[in-house]
């Protein structure tokens, strides 16, 4: 006897916004009929915070563990009473409105190192003690609805001017020791970026005494966990994209172009308990492994 349980969502991309109705079907495929003691469907959403091992010593004084913050928990019974499922494929449609718990906001789905925001649907089929219960989990994604008043976006939309920058040994933090003589000019279209649009800009190597090996764009997340008592701030790399390979031609503009990865980014989020922020580093690596980094904090929004 084999039973498979599946949750199929109506939307192919599985992306929902607050107040949407999550709809889909439960699919039970069995080759012989079986008894059950009730079927329930649970929709959950939570923020999981994890403390970096580096900081665990400090934090431990205050908390042993950081509790997950539950944003959403709805349970509904598909059938309360025990019953039978006939052999063959049984489709049970469902519809659940996506509403946060009181006093909570539905943040966007995000998978980070120390902060995870995830949403899922879970279906349980209870059965008698002789046979195992069946369970199936299905993740779905939450995104802010652009223009909706309820989304917790930051009021940073006015800062849309291009940001230009210039790099040379003079304006290095280290004072330019060890760096060859070079001049790098460029601009970013904006540092307040729409998450669904690529990150764009352009840079030009005006002059350079030593050959360049690589020019890279590093996308970094800065996650802060904690509360008023103390916090842990961790910056980790999401991705590193090469935009210039080898000894690039001088005085020819190079396109800065990066697509924000889907799961690992979300609109910049600042709450009392945690923060998710992003930064972009422009990294120039010279042939002699000398490395120059220019950091740009960026703000991601969904529009």
């Amino acid at each position: 006897m084999s039973i498979t349980l599946d949750i199929k969502l109506k939307r192919a991309d599985k992306i929902y916004s607050e107040a949407d109705i999550v709809s889909g079907i439960l699919v039970i495929d069995t080759n012989s009929d079986f008894k059950h003691d009730g079927i329930t469907l649970t929709m959950e959403g939570s923020v999981n915070l994890q403390i970096s091992s580096k900081n665990v010593g400090i934090i431990e004084a205050f908390y042993n563990s950081v509790k997950p913050i539950q944003l959403l928990n709805v349970t509904c019974d598909v059938t309360q009473a025990p019953g039978r499922i006939p052999a063959g494929v049984t489709n049970i449609p469902f519809e659940i409105p996506l509403k946060p718990k009181p006093n909570r906001v539905l943040y966007e789905t995000y998978h980070g190192v120390y902060v995870n925001i995830s949403y899922s649907l879970r279906c349980d089929i209870k059965r008698s003690f002789l046979s195992k219960d069946l369970q199936k989990c299905q993740q779905f994604f939450v995104q802010y609805k652009p223009g909706s008043a309820s989304c917790p976006q930051l009021p940073l939309k006015d800062n849309r001017k291009p940001v230009s920058f210039e790099l040379s040994p003079k304006n290095l933090a280290s004072g330019g020791s060890g760096a060859p003589d070079f001049l790098l000019r460029g601009h970013l279209d904006t540092v307040c970026c729409n998450i669904s649009k690529p990150f764009k800009g352009q840079l030009t190597l005006v002059r350079c005494a030593a050959p360049v090996r690589s020019i890279e764009l590093q996308l970094v997340r800065v996650e802060t966990c904690g509360c008023a008592e103390g916090y842990a701030r961790e910056a980790t790399e999401i991705q590193n994209i090469q935009i210039g390979d080898g000894d690039i031609a001088q005085n020819i503009p190079i396109l800065i172009y990066m697509v924000f990865p889907r799961l690992f980014t979300c609109p910049t989020l600042i709450t009392t308990n945690f923060k998710i922020e992003f930064e972009v580093n422009i990294v120039v690596v010279f042939e002699d492994d000398h490395l120059i980094t220019n950091n740009f904090p960026i703000i991601l929004v969904r529009e």
């Binding site: 939307r11 192919a12 991309d13 050959p211 360049v212 020019i215 991705q239 590193n240 994209i241 090469q242 935009i243 210039g244 390979d245 080898g246 000894d247 690039i248 031609a249 001088q250 020819i252 503009p253 190079i254 396109l255 172009y257 990066m258 697509v259 990865p261 889907r262």
Partner: protein, 964 residues
């Protein structure tokens, strides 16, 4: 003569009173032959006569495993494919590449519309040329992390248990990521490794391991970052992009097929049609496609990311119709991030190639131009960045520059195909801004329409002169320009100036091989548009260079090309042959086979253009060329080649005509006989020519030979008589003897004619016994017999000695088939003899007295003839007996009967009786042609009435048509 011979008496036709008896026929003799059932005839032209059945292989990306297995080459082909090319074909491939570029562009005008939709063609011929040209013997490195498991299992299948465990462990290791191995491979191994990767990719894809497939594709694209062995890079590019194309197609096809599309009004999901629009694509397919693009956007390294995106460009159509074009422009900009100029230019090449394949009609094609301009902008960068690497690889800058050519030419070609003339002007102006760089100049010249280039030939020449960098060598630039000029003529008023300028430039070339490659192209231009004088002086210059050249390199190939080009383009071939440097240039050929080829080409061209010449100098050159050809023949020469050469020589011999200078003409023939003694056909031709000459002489003197002309025609006859025996073929000899004999007779050279006829008699016995001979000989003998009638008897050898010896020869000849042929022969002899018994022969040779006037119907002579006829009839009767009742017997008997009825004097009772017997034999035979016999009877009856021949009339009455 035995006593049972019948006594024959020939009927003497009274020519004075004879009114020619003729009878209207009811049926045309040929009417029976009309074929009622027509057999469909195969037209020769419809079948390929070359027998080339090898299909042209086209690169195809097949994803099915079965087809993939089929794709595997047999070891031989594989070897042939990987075999390093010899330098010659390499050069040829290189030339083809440049030449065909020009050609395509030229055709491009006409076929522009066609071209637009046949874009892959543009690339495919380049592809092969690149693979041929850019090869290496150095070791190549390849970093691989996905080894081919299947292969390893096969290799180690027979090893010991310990090995097996180890092998299993290794295999497990290799599955882990990051276990990269750096391999040192030869070119062949490298290619097969790439091939393996391709197979692996398809296999993995079919096993639903998409991520792994993507990883392999990335791995491949990564190889293009590495320019370790520069000279191999273009080939590597071709191989790798093939895999990428395949990958792109796999992704696209799968997305298309997996996308469940509901046709309007239909409930059954089907795959998307080929020409779908984005709004037809279901959201699941869009999602999958987006995932692909998110995935590739996160590829860390620039070059693989660009290449993979380019490979997948087509899939953008699942998302929206504008994304693809946007991506093309974005990628164009992003390529600027590639530091290595070679890598960058090939990436651009791939972009243009893929771009052409994915863009639909009316889409924006300016990215092509943008790619070219971007290259121009970064041009100076090339020189800054590569010095170090070139030094390391010991490569010269000019060789390095040629690496750019295939990619750049392709980009240029796409630009020119899709843009108006004005764009070209802009590009040219742009090029000037970048200080007339040689590489770009070269690309422009090979990429633009030749007509455009040659119109501005002078401008280009001055730009070439101003070239500041040392990229593409001067010779290559001149060569490219020369190719353009030879395809499309420059303005008339500029031509002289162009020639001067090119001449000056060519003098700057120090290296003889550079000089010769330039010369090769430009001589075509000179030959086409200038007189032989210029060609001659250029060749003189060329000779001076070649003789001065101390290096012991021979340039036979180039020399041959040069000659070929001159010959095809020159208008006045005769003056070319007699120019000062002709022989000196021919002497330069060290490779005899090429000399022969060139001689052949010259002669062919000469034969085709000139119809007659009387210039002894030209003739001398022709004889030299012809003997070159003739001397090339040896035991191993194929028949066909011999035939071809013979034809050329015959044609040439016929062209030389000194008109009334007969002596000179005969001298030429004597010389030719000496020079071309091997070729039967040529010798035969010479004999015919000499006979022809003899006839012309006779025509000039109108038959009245002076002593001098008589001597001359005798010399001609002697020439024929001594030339003929050297011919191998017996039949040809026979025919020529007969022909020469006729001509000798015509010229009243009786002795010579007689000699010829005697030669015929002795030659007949040399004929081989075969069915062919049985067909040939009777026809030949009939011809001979009709000639013999007018040949006067040789007083030294008695009456009719020639005919008697002929009779003996034929009788003793070993016939292949039955003796029936002999029977017919005898019948014809009867014909001849009975005509010879007439008082006046029906035809004569002018100025030759035949037997009729020699003997004046002397009774002895007539008796002799009658006796001979009697003997012959005896032979025939004997033959008939020998044959027994059969169709042949009937035929011979019937023929004989007709002779009796027409030729014999039927008043002799014996003859009359015999005739009737023959008739009865015929009618009783098993195979009588009653219709024919009835017609014969009617004919004879009518004839007897007209001629007042009572005997014949009686005979006709007695002839019964009743069978048994």
């Amino acid at each position: 003569m035995s006593s049972d011979l019948i006594s024959w008496k020939t009927l003497n036709v009274n020519t004075k009173i004879k009114t020619s008896f003729s009878e209207a026929v009811q049926e045309h003799p040929l009417k029976n032959i009309v074929v009622t059932e027509r057999i469909p005839r195969r037209i020769l032209g419809s079948t390929p006569s070359t027998g080339r059945t090898t299909p042209v292989s086209t690169p195809s990306n097949i994803s099915e495993p079965l087809a993939n297995a089929l794709k595997q080459l047999d070891p031989l082909t594989e070897f042939a494919m990987h075999e390093e090319m010899d330098p010659l074909s390499k050069i040829a491939a290189e030339m083809d590449l440049t030449d065909s570029c020009i050609r395509t562009v030229n055709e491009g005008n006409k076929k522009k519309d066609e071209k637009l939709f046949n874009k892959t063609d543009l690339w495919s011929y380049r592809r092969a040329a690149i693979l041929q040209k850019y090869t290496t013997s150095e070791k190549l490195t390849m970093v691989i992390s996905y080894l081919i498991e299947g292969e390893k299992v096969v290799v180690k299948a027979q090893s010991t248990a310990v090995d097996k465990v180890q092998h299993r462990l290794e295999q497990l290791d290799s599955f882990e990521e990051g276990s990269q191995r750096k391999l040192n491979l030869s070119q062949t191994e490298y290619i097969s490794q790439i091939e393996e990767l391709n197979k692996e990719l398809i296999m993995v894809w079919n096993n639903e391991q998409r991520v792994k497939a993507l990883k392999i594709a990335i791995q491949c694209a990564k190889m293009l970052t590495d320019t370790d062995v520069l000279i191999f890079y273009p080939s590597k590019f071709v191989l790798v992009t093939d895999i990428l194309d395949c990958f792109g197609k796999l992704v696209y096809d799968r997305l298309r097929i997996k996308a469940e599309y509901y046709k309007p009004g239909s409930k059954v999901p089907t795959a998307l049609p080929e020409d779908f629009t984005p709004d037809m694509v279901p959201s699941t397919a869009k999602e999958t496609c987006l995932n692909w693009f998110y995935k590739i956007a996160s590829i860390r390294e620039l070059v693989p990311r660009l290449y993979i995106e380019m490979a997948l460009l087509r899939s953008y159509y699942f998302i929206s119709s504008s994304d693809c074009t946007e991506a093309l422009f974005r990628l164009t900009k992003m390529i600027q991030g590639i530091g290595n100029p070679v890598v960058a230019v090939y990436a651009r090449c791939y972009l243009c190639r893929v771009g052409l394949n994915v863009t639909i009609k009316d889409s924006n094609l300016t990215y092509l131009r943008e790619n070219f301009d971007s290259f121009l902008e970064s041009y100076q960068h090339i020189f800054r960045s590569v010095k170090g690497q070139l030094h390391k690889e010991k490569m010269s800058l000019s060789t390095y520059m040629t690496l750019y050519a295939p990619a750049l030419d392709f980009i240029m070609e796409t630009v020119t195909l899709h843009s108006p003339e004005s764009t070209l002007n802009e590009i040219l102006a742009n090029c000037k801004r970048y200080s007339n760089s040689s590489l770009i100049l070269n690309t422009i010249m090979s990429g633009f329409k030749p007509a455009y280039v040659s119109e501005r030939c002078l401008q280009f020449l001055s730009m070439i002169g101003q070239c500041t960098d040392d990229g593409i060598p001067l010779s290559a630039l001149l060569r490219t320009l020369g190719l353009c000029v030879s395809v499309s003529p420059p303005l008339k008023e500029h031509r002289a100036q162009i020639l001067n300028s090119v001449y000056l430039n060519m003098n700057l070339l120090k290296n003889p091989s550079e000089y010769i490659t330039c010369f090769e192209v430009w001589i075509q231009f000179v030959a086409k548009y200038f007189s032989t004088k210029e060609v001659d002086s250029l060749l003189g210059d060329f000779l001076y260079r070649m003789i001065k050249n101390e290096e012991q390199i021979t340039y036979s190939v180039e020399l041959q090309n040069i000659m070929d080009k001159i010959i095809t383009n020159i208008s006045d071939i005769e003056s070319f042959l007699v120019m000062d440097h002709f022989f000196a240039v021919m002497d330069l050929f060290e490779d005899k086979s090429r000399l022969i080829e060139v001689s052949k080409v010259i002669l062919c061209k000469y034969n085709a253009t000139v119809h007659q010449t009387d210039d002894p100098v030209v003739t001398n050159v022709l004889m030299y060329l012809a003997s070159n050809l003739h001397d090339s023949i040896n035991m191993l020469t194929p028949e066909d080649e011999k035939r071809q050469i013979s034809q050329i020589l015959c044609k040439t011999i016929r062209i030389v005509n000194y008109g009334l200078d007969f002596d000179l003409q005969l001298d030429l023939y004597v010389e030719a006989r000496h020079a071309f003694c091997i070729l039967d056909t040529v010798i035969a031709e010479l004999v015919k020519c000499v006979n022809n000459l003899a006839v012309s002489v006779r025509q000039v003197v109108k038959g009245y030979h002076t002593r001098k002309t008589a001597d001359f025609v005798r010399a001609c006859a002697a020439y024929c008589f001594i030339t003929i025996p050297s011919i191998n073929c017996t039949r040809t000899r026979l025919k020529l003897y007969l022909f020469s004999g006729q001509i000798a007779l015509y010229n009243s050279c009786l002795g010579q004619a007689d000699a010829c006829f005697k030669a015929i008699l002795s030659t007949i016995s040399e004929l081989p016994c075969s069915t062919d001979t049985d067909l040939f000989l009777p026809a030949f003998v009939r011809q001979f017999l009709s000639l013999l009638m007018v040949v006067p008897d040789n007083p030294e050898r008695g009456v009719l000695s020639l005919i008697k010896s002929l009779l003996n020869t034929i009788r003793n000849f070993k016939w292949q088939t039955s003796s029936s042929v002999l029977g017919f022969f005898y019948v014809h002899v009867i014909d001849l003899l009975s005509v010879m018994a007439q008082e006046v022969y029906p035809y004569h040779v002018d100025k030759v007295e035949s037997n009729d006037s020699l003997w004046g119907s002397d009774p002895k002579f007539i008796d002799e003839i009658n006796n001979m006829i009697a003997v012959v009839i005896g032979e025939i009767l004997f033959l008939l007996q020998d044959l027994g009742p059969c169709q042949k017997q009937y035929q011979i008997a019937m023929e004989l009967f007709v002779r009796f009825a027409v030729r014999a004097d039927l008043r002799v009772k014996e003859l009359n009786g015999l005739a009737l017997k023959l008739w009865n034999l015929c009618i009783k035979s098993n195979y009588p042609d009653i219709k024919y016999m009835a017609t014969t009877k009617t004919y004879l009856k009518n004839k007897s009435l007209t001629c007042d021949n009572e005997e014949l009339q009686r005979l006709a009455e007695k002839m019964s048509l009743l069978q048994k």
